[in-house]
């Protein structure tokens, strides 16, 4: 063995030995393992049922119903219209959420005092704790069936999420730049606009694009409760067992999600470069 090899294979003596695990740690790990085993044992999971010849035949028969997708021109045109409707719902919902989230974030970041901060954080918690589906159910009663209710449902939930993320982004900005501008005689608004907002903006735009990606998927789900778009078409054709048509809608959803993912990734990369 050469000298360098010997040095590399020799045990390192410059690091202290790792701390010994206490008996309590081992007991805790054993208890966690026992809980996992007990969880599986207590549930009536019939793994074998997935792999019986009957189950495999049923699945094959069900899935083969989707092929080939319905590619007739009228249906493709109809799917394309729903595709745009879903895209528009997610884009407008996210835009409205970002517009509402920014002023909420200013108050939520303590820019308007402690009382406003606590009150706004509570409002943001409520907005984002209620899932889009529940918002949609409520708004369908108010706005009727269609994309309007879906768009507003996305906007309400996402405003809660973006408001919180924007507020955290503003609070996490290094404060000295704004303080230094204030010291140099800038008014509070000018110091905020020149120093703090530009530092937080790339992160805020990145959050908004990421939520847009999420809202594409959410918009498709909201369609199931009657809020328009591809989701509504999917529910309709599945409920009538028109599997080729449902397959076309599912493919349109896949294309939409892939396109928005790619666009969002490229935009975020450009913003954070």
């Amino acid at each position: 063995m050469s000298a360098p090899e010997a040095r590399m294979s020799a045990p390192r003596t410059d690091l202290p030995p790792p701390p010994p695990r206490s008996a309590g740690t081992w007991l805790l790990l054993a208890a966690l393992a026992a809980l996992v085993v007990a969880s599986f044992a207590s549930l009536p999971l019939q793994w074998r049922a997935f792999f019986t010849a009957e189950a495999i035949d049923s699945a094959r028969e069900f899935l083969s119903g989707f092929a080939p997708p319905d590619t007739s021109a009228p249906f493709v045109r109809k799917t394309f219209a729903a595709f745009w409707e879903t895209l528009a719902m997610s884009a407008i919902g996210t835009l409205l959420a970002a517009l509402a989230g920014l002023p909420l974030a200013l108050a939520g970041a303590g820019r308007l005092g402690r009382v406003a901060r606590a009150g706004t954080r509570l409002v943001l918690n409520v907005l984002r704790s209620i899932p889009e589906l529940v918002w949609a159910a409520v708004l369908l009663v108010l706005a009727g069936l269609g994309p309007m209710a879906g768009t507003l449902a996305l906007a309400a939930h996402t405003a809660g999420v973006l408001g919180r993320l924007f507020a955290d982004a503003l609070e996490n900005v290094e404060p000295h730049a704004e303080q230094s501008l204030r010291t140099n005689g800038a008014r509070p608004l000018a110091a905020f606009l020149y120093a703090t907002l530009p530092q937080a903006l790339p992160q805020m735009l990145s959050y908004t694009l990421y939520r847009w990606e999420n809202n594409i998927r959410a918009a498709a789900v909201l369609g199931v409760v009657g809020a328009g778009g591809l989701g509504q078409m999917l529910k309709y054709h599945l409920s009538l067992f028109q599997m080729p048509s449902a397959a076309t809608v599912v493919l349109a959803m896949l294309v939409l999600v892939a396109l928005v993912d790619a666009a969002s990734y490229l935009l975020r990369r450009a913003l954070t470069r």
Binding site: H176, A177, L181, N184, G185, R187, A190, Y194, P198, Q199
Partner: protein, 214 residues
């Protein structure tokens, strides 16, 4: 041009400044030294009107700072004072030219002199660079250019060489000295460094009993 009259300031019941009085002449370069916690940065904040004294007065050009509301104090800082900090505080998303032009824009003046100011501090041709492309010494040069571009009467510097190696610090101090002289500005520099203090016209020692010549 600057008069401190019986200034007192306490934090949590502990007196930091107790009846401090001193006069500063226009164009004078003064270094203030003292132990940590004795109140050097507090004194700079009181002079700038960023903090209010518990008692006594800070008088700038015959005007007591205490008589000014927040807007007027902001305006006074913007037009009559410049600041340099230990950690530079240059805005990362603006070019060097935009950073230096900020005090001019805040004063609704033309940003034109920013380029010449960058030349004066040895950053010729770097106006379109961003702060991330600069070393610590170069960043402090930008801070000096930004502090002097609007021709303030008084420059306040809080440990301006605290983050720099001795050679770079020496270059920055000489630049600070020559540029304040060229602009006819006075300067009050808080420092722990004897080498930095040696560049000043006058060195004052801040102790619990007040300011005295070192």
């Amino acid at each position: 041009m600057l008069e401190l009259d019986q200034l007192t300031k306490s934090y949590g019941g502990r007196a930091v400044l107790a009846g401090l009085s001193h006069g500063f002449k226009a164009g004078e370069f003064v270094a203030i030294m003292g132990e940590s916690g004795v109140g050097k940065s507090t004194l700079l904040n009181l002079i700038a009107g960023l903090d209010a004294p518990d008692g006594g007065r800070v008088i700038v050009d015959g005007t007591p700072m205490s008589s000014l509301d927040d807007d007027a104090a902001t305006r006074l800082r913007r037009t009559r004072m410049g600041f340099i900090f230990q950690a530079f505080h240059v805005l990362p998303h603006l070019t060097l030219r935009q950073n230096v032009a900020l005090p001019l824009l805040l004063n609704h003046a033309s940003p034109e002199p920013a380029g010449a100011m960058l030349d004066a501090v040895g950053l010729h041709g770097r106006g379109e660079d961003f702060p991330r492309q600069l070393s610590g010494g170069e960043l402090q040069r930008v801070a000096i250019a930004r502090a002097l571009v609007h021709r303030p009467a008084l420059l306040l510097a809080d440990e301006p060489t605290g983050n720099l190696d001795p050679d770079t610090a020496n270059g920055i101090l000489q630049l600070l000295r020559s540029e304040t002289r060229a602009h006819g500005a006075g300067a009050i520099m808080v420092t722990h460094s004897h080498a930095a203090a040696a560049m000043a016209d006058k060195v004052l020692l801040l102790t619990s009993s007040g300011l005295k010549l070192a």
